[in-house]
């Protein structure tokens, strides 16, 4: 700033430096709402921190303990209740739960997604389906699974059905947005040549959006892997999630949780890498 002052004096000594700031940005509605949102978040956070029920926990003591636990977790992992290959198999169960859910939901979501896209059906049908999807997505996955578990029993069936709800909702939204990107001209041209609805769908809509569909489906698979893990821990769906739950709530074995964490981490990073590569390759095409 000092430099700038000197320079302006050098250039034009007659011009006095007023020290006033020039307003370059006007306050508009967008920046006002942005500011209010951030302010709201900060205020809620402060209020929340003051009203939480801490039950007299010693905060710094717990932090130090957590760091010590991290050290045990990550540097001395050890398996006690199952072998390495059993662990791999547990991860595979979780992956299989996610794969099954994703497959079922992808099939359902293609058809419902077609019905939900405005260029292929009426606006009303589209809005009705989108409304139902919003309602389904508002119920957390774990609650869907637990509700289904009452009559289907805890296990893979309840978990897959419950997880399918959310996953279908997500995919319908993603698919229908990809379908809606198709130009109206293409559909019109096909209609003019006398093609029926199914022909339009299979010859124009799906081929032109298939790369997006694959990319979205895999992205959802990655998310569902995390959900399947949680369902193992919270809703008895089995797999590596159940192993974490047992390790934490029954055996109190930090070193085993460390080993399981590594299993999960390796698989999750692998899935993410595939998803990123897939997305990049599909985008290039």
């Amino acid at each position: 700033m000092a430099n700038l002052n000197n320079m302006s004096e050098d250039f034009n000594p007659s011009l006095e430096f007023s020290g006033k700031r020039i307003k370059v940005k006007k306050m508009n509605k967008a920046s006002l709402v942005t500011g209010l949102t951030i302010l709201g978040m900060v205020l809620f956070t402060i209020y929340g921190l003051m009203t939480f029920e801490y039950d007299g926990i010693k905060f710094w003591h717990a932090i130090v303990q957590t760091l010590a636990n991290f050290k045990v977790l990550f540097f001395t992992p050890h398996l006690t209740h199952f072998t390495f290959w059993q662990g791999v198999f547990q991860v595979l169960i979780t992956v299989a739960l996610a794969a099954l859910t994703t497959l079922i939901s992808a099939i359902l979501a293609v058809f419902l997604g077609l019905l939900a896209s405005q260029n292929l059906t009426s606006k009303r049908t589209s809005n009705v389906i989108k409304g139902i999807v919003a309602l389904i997505r508002a119920v957390p996955e774990v609650l869907w699974v637990l509700i289904f578990a009452v009559s289907a029993g805890l296990g893979s069936v309840a978990a897959v059905i419950g997880m399918t709800f959310h996953s279908v909702g997500y995919l319908i939204k993603a698919y229908s947005e990809s379908f809606e990107e198709l130009e109206d001209g293409t559909i019109e041209a096909l209609k003019a040549s006398g093609a029926n609805w199914w022909q339009i769908v299979f010859q124009a809509v799906i081929p032109s959006s298939i790369t997006y569909l694959i990319s979205w489906t895999f992205l959802r698979f990655e998310i569902t892997f995390g959900v399947a893990l949680a369902m193992g821990a919270a809703a008895g769906a089995g797999g590596i999630g159940y192993a974490v739950f047992m390790g934490s709530s029954f055996y109190f074995d930090l070193r085993e949780i460390g080993a399981i964490t590594f299993f999960i981490l390796i698989f999750a990073v692998l899935l993410e890498t595939i998803a990123v590569q897939l997305k990049r390759r599909l985008k290039v095409k």
């Binding site: 940005k25 967008a30 942005t34 949102t37 978040m41 809620f44 956070t45 209020y47 921190l49 939480f52 029920e53 801490y54 926990i57 717990a62 303990q65 957590t66 636990n69 198999f89 169960i93 299989a96 794969a99 099954l100 497959l103 919003a134 309602l135 508002a138 119920v139 957390p140 996955e141 774990v142 609650l143 509700i147 289904f148 009452v150 009559s151 289907a152 296990g155 893979s156 069936v157 309840a158 897959v160 059905i161 995390g226 949680a230 821990a233 919270a234 089995g238 797999g239 999630g241 974490v244 390790g247 934490s248 109190f252 930090l254 949780i257 964490t261 999960i264 981490l265 999750a268 990073v269």
Partner: protein
Amino acid sequence: MQDKFFFKKRRNLFLILLLIILIAYSAIDITQFSIGKMFSSIPRSIIWSVTNFYPTSASFSHLPDIINKMVQTIFMSIASVTFAAIFAFIFAICGSKTTRANAFIGTIARGIATLFRNIDVTVWSMILLFSFGQNALTGLFALFFGSFGFLTRAFIETIDEVGENSVEALQATGASYSSVIVHSVIPSSIPQMVSWLLFMIENNIRSATLIGILTGTGIGFAFDIQYKDLNYHVASLIVIVIVITILLLEFISNYVRRVIL
């Protein structure tokens, strides 16, 4: 030529279908899933839900307590996102290709974010349960770790997307590193970032329900108690409160997004 084209197309379709069937079959085998049971249990679940899963007038006496727990859960997810946003912003500045100081720090920042993102909130809450116990802080920290990893990746992508040109322009005029950040990176990427924050808050309320069941806090715990007591009328009221909360939040964040983006 044309024959070959259609032959290839059919062959590829056949191979893909085969692969999908193979995956489905092995997944069914591994998880001991039963398709028959799936189809028989769906109508049974619907009948059960209609006849048992609705709030009665008696269950409304629990409403003040439920709303109290819900508010606590909302505060928890907002607080976790606020803290996560501060850390994620610093890490994103260090990790983004356009703003990072050097490649080494960039890789470390991205690596830490990947580590936090890929350990699921379930695992975080189970780990934190050891030192924090059945406490609001367990959920807060678990949500914080998960949000931090996700937001760092989202922020890095945002900065990469919007920042490059304006950063270059400011650097060309000789602006310092800090003024590039303050006058170019933050103003141009803040709407997108706020949009991610809103998404994260919504997402955290859903996760908070799960963490609550696992760690015994907030609205998840309230549901779990009623569910295990087979007190389904109150449990359904809790579900309704959660749904209304999430829809309301979605409405607010859609409004904010429409205005700022």
